[in-house]
């Protein structure tokens, strides 16, 4: 056992610059933490190890942005929604999903969960983040 004092956040963002989406996998139970943190929130193991996620995912819920829930910068996303996303590895998180609008919302909602995949998106402020795109 070796709990390391290490820069997990910096490595996550630097990996995005290199085109890789990194989470952390529990060495005891296999649970994947994404975004990456030190410990496993499933079994409580102190340690997790770097793990590149496949990017395959499913959308479980759809909320469209509106006056209260958008920012000028988000225009760059094109058509998008917010929702619960489940990675192929089983991890669930709130995320942005591109390709959803008022037009296809009802049709997609009836089909939930729908397939999507992770993409790297450049934010203002000199860093990249992870969003999801619908598989078509």
């Amino acid at each position: 056992m070796s709990i390391k004092l290490e820069k997990v956040v910096q490595k996550f963002y630097e990996s995005l610059d290199e085109g890789k989406m990194m989470g952390r996998k529990c060495s005891a139970c296999g649970n994947v933490e994404f975004p990456p943190v030190y410990a496993c929130n499933k079994c409580g193991n102190y340690e997790t190890e770097w793990y590149e996620i496949s990017g395959k995912a499913k959308v479980h819920s759809i909320v469209l942005p509106a006056a209260l829930s958008s920012k000028p910068e988000y225009k760059k996303l094109g058509k998008y929604a917010y929702g619960e996303v489940e990675l192929e590895e089983g991890t669930r998180l709130n995320a942005v999903i591109r390709g959803i609008s008022k037009k296809n919302r009802a049709e997609l909602t009836a089909k939930l969960p729908v397939d999507c995949h992770a993409s790297i998106f450049e934010r203002e402020g000199g860093f990249k983040t992870v969003v999801f795109d619908l598989d078509e």
């Binding site: 209260l68 829930s69 995320a95």
Partner: protein, 436 residues
């Protein structure tokens, strides 16, 4: 998942105090009120209500969501103890943002149940509508009492402090889902239509406002019926008009908090010591039965739902009570859907049927399932940290039968308060009037 143990001894609320919720800078009579004056008023009225002297109070808890921005203080508890006769006494400041006032009860009860203190004050103050003058930035020297209105732009910039800087803000979703996630979850899991959710959201606003209209401490007291009449519209037309614009995917303007200024406080005492300490006791003690707690950071899917389910489960498992035992319910509904989903998760309203109770007006103060009898965050107002204790003030006064014009029909004995806030802490506070 945590299981709650039994308190080492019984703890009761014996007195409550609350200021009106207001926009202090908008009225010459209240413009210039300070932290010591607001908190001091709530604290002293709570002590008077409990029949205790400040010298009998061992310690106090001070809640304020954003003391640096709102008061230019790092240690707000230290600055004001002398305003209510507790100079030199120990105290601690805490912030769980909008959940502060509910977890203020948790802090106080634990301190007394442990045996460390017999009687404590727990209070909170917030200036949600203004900041010390000049309002340019937190670093410049501030005037002793003058305040400037807080712009919506500044408010929104400081609310970003509620969210994880390392991942959540960057991922862009958690902080935006606060407005509509609960509505989407309810529509999808209960199988109602978006139109039915729209009506339900409107009726929560209407009911909250009806409650506030008969509560002198509430910030907004003109009913939606009156507002519609002024525009020559029916109630339904008004609620779906540009006077109540759509601001979120489901949410309309009327379903968002009225951020404002206010303070509230409670006196919490070891039940076995009440006779000795509260020499002028006025009411039956209200015992704190259990407080369930959970917190989900905003990248957690359906954070409000998940944390509420867990907090409620803890409180019910610890007490053996169920939703059927509740006579009265409060939900911190700064986003009004909280009101529906937490009452249903707590079993106060039946699964999948809560929206109908709301649309039939049964959850207004004079209905058979009253919720937020003070008017809730959209009509009573939201002085962030103080709101939970203002709800406790109202709950206790309802349970003592002291609410006059808006006293609920059946005297409530058992009440749940569902605290929520700070992206996102949740508390499920269960209280019951003691039989003498």
């Amino acid at each position: 998942m945590s299981a709650l143990g039994k308190y080492s001894r019984s703890v009761s609320i014996i007195g409550v105090g609350c200021t009106p919720f207001m926009y202090t800078v908008d009225n010459p009579e209240t413009d210039g009120l300070t932290e010591g004056e607001m908190f001091g008023y709530a604290a002293l009225t709570a002590m008077e209500d409990a029949g205790v002297n400040p010298r009998d109070v061992d310690f106090y808890f001070h809640g304020q969501a954003s003391p640096l921005n709102g008061s230019n203080y790092l240690t707000p508890n230290v600055q004001i103890a002398n305003w209510f006769g507790m100079k030199g006494k120990g105290s601690i400041h805490h912030s769980e943002a909008c959940c502060t006032g509910y977890l203020a009860i948790e802090q106080a009860v634990n301190a007394v149940a442990s045996g460390k203190y017999n009687c404590v004050l727990t209070g909170a103050v917030e200036f949600g509508d203004s900041t010390p003058s000049p309002a340019d930035n937190i670093e410049t020297p501030k005037h002793p009492y003058k305040r400037d209105k807080m712009t919506m732009d500044k408010f929104l910039r400081t609310t970003s402090w509620l969210y994880d800087r390392t991942y959540t803000r960057s991922l862009m979703a958690g902080q935006e889902l606060i407005y509509d996630d609960a509505a989407e979850w309810y529509v999808r899991t209960r199988g109602i239509t978006a139109e039915q959710m729209n009506d339900t959201i409107n009726w929560m606003c209407i009911n909250n406002r009806r409650n506030a209209s008969v509560n002198p401490l509430a910030i907004e007291r003109k009913t939606y019926e009156e507002l519609a009449k002024e525009q020559g519209m029916t109630l339904d037309e008004y609620m779906n008009s540009p006077f109540n614009p759509r601001m979120g995917d489901f949410l309309r303007a009327g379903g968002v908090e009225l951020k404002c200024d206010g303070a509230a406080a409670c006196i919490v005492c070891a039940t076995e010591e009440i006779g000795r300490i509260a020499k002028n006791l006025k009411h039956k003690p209200i015992e704190v039965l259990a407080i369930g707690s959970a917190a989900c950071e905003a990248t957690t899917p359906h954070f409000e739902v998940r944390a509420t389910e867990e907090a409620v489960r803890q409180a019910y498992e610890a007490t053996g009570l169920t939703g059927d035992d509740l006579d009265l319910f409060y939900a911190n509904d700064f986003i009004i859907t909280s009101h529906l989903i937490s009452a249903e998760i707590a079993g106060y309203l039946p699964y999948g049927e809560g929206w109908k109770y709301i649309c039939e007006g049964r959850t207004a103060w004079d209905g058979d399932k009253p919720i937020n009898t003070n008017g809730g965050r959209t009509s009573f107002g939201h002085a962030h940290a103080a709101s939970g204790l203002a709800d406790m003030y109202e709950a206790c006064r309802q349970m003592w039968g002291e609410c006059g014009e808006h006293q609920v029909k059946k005297l409530p004995k058992t009440t749940m308060l569902r605290g929520y806030g700070g992206a996102q802490n949740v508390a499920a506070v269960l209280i019951r009037t003691l039989d003498k």
